[in-house]
């Protein structure tokens, strides 16, 4: 069975187990909602202030959500040692990473899309006409967070103090993607919105580089 069909089967399992338990999605959505609402109380969100601070706060909330999500993605496989069963069953261990990245990106995007109207209402901003650009930025940003975060989650799952280790590694590594995503979102929320292709290019390069590194070295991250 090929890499992609293995990854598709694994992704199907991730989605089925999550939608059956709804543990991760419900926790993350509630958490991000609380963060966005609390941020909206910190200042009076006039349109100008929202344009300046809003995107940064929004991506910070997404980063918190991602760290919650990523924490469990390999820990769940340790409960019944199912990671070993997966390693024995797949022909290429990269399929496990592809499925985890796919699931994390999907769940993160779902959370982001649900939060977008809440954010627009609370921060008095409008994305009308900029939705394709926003969706592209959310997708590339979420993919970057998931690729780098899944690799770190695999490393931290086998370490002692794993709950502390992941956020410690995650925040500095994801700073560049957070900055690029925020800058692109700011440009899309400006009074005269425009697409900042330089930022989009950076996100694409970040995603490709980390995905390639994971393809080359991912097998070693899963070893005992």
């Amino acid at each position: 069975m090929g890499l992609l069909s293995n990854a598709a089967a694994l992704l199907g399992k991730e989605v089925r187990t999550e939608f059956r338990s709804r543990e991760l999605l419900s926790t993350t959505i509630v958490f991000v909602l609380i963060v966005v609402v609390l941020f909206s109380f910190t200042f009076d969100p006039t349109t100008n202030e929202s344009h300046r601070f809003g995107p940064g706060l929004l991506w910070l909330a997404f980063l918190f959500a991602a760290s919650l999500m990523l924490q469990t993605c390999f820990l769940r496989e340790q409960v019944n040692d199912t990671l070993s069963a997966l390693r024995l069953a797949v022909s290429d261990p990269f399929a496990i990473f592809l499925a985890k990245i796919g699931a994390n990106t999907l769940f993160l995007l779902l959370t982001e899309l649900l939060m977008l109207p809440v954010f627009a209402a609370l921060f008095n901003v409008s994305f009308r006409g900029q939705l394709p650009g926003i969706l592209l930025t959310f997708f590339l940003g979420s993919l970057g967070i998931s690729v780098a975060g899944t690799a770190l989650a695999a490393i931290s799952a086998q370490a002692r103090m794993r709950e502390l280790l992941l956020p410690l590694l995650l925040l500095p590594l994801l700073a560049p993607i957070l900055v690029a995503s925020t800058e692109v979102t700011i440009s899309l929320m400006a009074p005269e919105p425009f697409m900042q292709w330089k930022g989009i290019g950076f996100l694409v390069v970040f995603d490709v580089v980390f995905l390639t590194a994971l393809w080359l070295f991912g097998e070693y991250l899963l070893e005992e």
Binding site: M1, L10, T17, S21, T82, L88, A89, V90
Partner: protein, 231 residues
Amino acid sequence: MSAAAEPSIGLRFEKVDKRYGAVYALRNLTLAIAPGECVALAGRNGSGKTTLLRIASCLTRPTRGTLSYSGVTENQNSKTGFVAHATMVYDELTAEENLLFFAKLLGVANRRQRVEQLLSEVGLGERKDSLVRTFSRGMRQRVAIARALLANPSLLLFDEPATGLDPEATAWLTGYLRKLRDSGCTILMSLHGESEVARLATRAVRLDAGSVVADTRSGATFQSIFSFVGG
């Protein structure tokens, strides 16, 4: 019973060391297991039984030394079935969904038919649509065994297969392992003490501090190997 459709494979550990930090789990271990043998591994906690099985399944790499399968050193995952101490199945999926999922990953032909056959063999045909989290330890162990048998493996590795099982489930497991042994599968199983399951073995090996300290094919001396362990 359709296990061991392929020819059985043998195992050879050659001067294998496995070290975790400064601690040796296995030390200079050499052990050859012929195709079709049913070997019981005995030893105290920490003697290296589980490490040996995980190296045999290619889940763990030895620090030093080599492992070969009938003369071949490449990974034989597709021909190996492993029942570990943990069940290695998903609690949030039903018994059937678990087996169909792993059958798909393993590329099993006619997987629906194979899964139904295995569920019926392990006595879970009527509970196939129940979530694994609702199962007792014995029922979970049956799902784990069915998972390990999906691809008709010719090498089976069991890590304390009777742990947590009640007498009825142990009797079922013994009967099932007997069928597998008689069908020609190579079986390597770790056991804590002498038991019904241990009596299936055609050879017993005792480990101590990561090395083989006793190895016998004589049924008369099996008892001493297991009684030493405290069974």
